[in-house]
Amino acid sequence: MAMAATELEYRVELLNRMVASCHDKCSAKPYKEGVLSVGESSCVDRCAAKYWQVVAIVGQLLGSAK
């Protein structure tokens, strides 16, 4: 049960970091409007996909390094 709680915490932390990183990289500063434009949403798509891919690769490496 404690393992599940820790796993959930890790997942939330992962999501928060992904959001922070992609928001940092993709939103055009200064903010001119409150809606994601076409380019920004395509950037966010790509950023999230890359982030997940990196997480998967690093997880595999960590798993196989044991």
Partner: protein
């Protein structure tokens, strides 16, 4: 602030679709072209209300001929503006999606593509000139109407 609902996200997705955007721009360009045609026809009547000396042309005929002129001009302007709006909006959306950046260069590149494509019947020199002029125009418009 709240998390966006599913409906809102679907709506945004639909608006971010390049096909939808270009179709909307084409329709609005057509409407603008119609307004422009009506306005131009009323400015330059091309001698419709002229008549030989001493007579007056019957009003009904003047109105009919004016209506035909307005229809003609509206159609030609509407085609031009609709095509331009469609091309510009489509290329800008595609370029912005590809670059994944939101700045003023999208307007410049889309303007160049639109101007070049629309001047294509005139040959390569006309294409270069059209590209440069339309790119400058659309960059200026983007800058002055709250660009980045």
């Amino acid at each position: 602030m709240q998390m966006p609902t599913y409906d809102l996200m679907m709506q945004e997705d639909m608006m971010n679709n390049c096909g939808v955007k270009s179709a909307i721009a084409g329709v609005m360009g057509g409407a603008l072209g119609v307004a422009f045609g009506v306005f131009t026809a009323s400015l330059d009547t091309q001698g419709i209300d002229a008549a030989p000396m001493g007579e007056t042309k019957p009003t009904r005929q003047v109105l009919k001929e004016t209506w035909m002129l307005m229809k003609e001009k509206s159609k030609s302007y509407a085609k031009g503006f609709a095509g331009m709006g469609f091309l510009y909006s489509g290329t800008e959306c595609m370029i912005e999606k590809y670059r994944a950046k939101h700045d003023n260069w999208n307007a410049t590149l889309a303007g160049c593509a639109t101007g070049g494509l629309m001047a294509a019947p005139g040959g390569p020199k006309a294409m270069c000139f059209g590209c440069a002029s339309f790119a400058a125009f659309s960059t200026a418009i983007e800058y002055f109407t709250g660009g980045h």
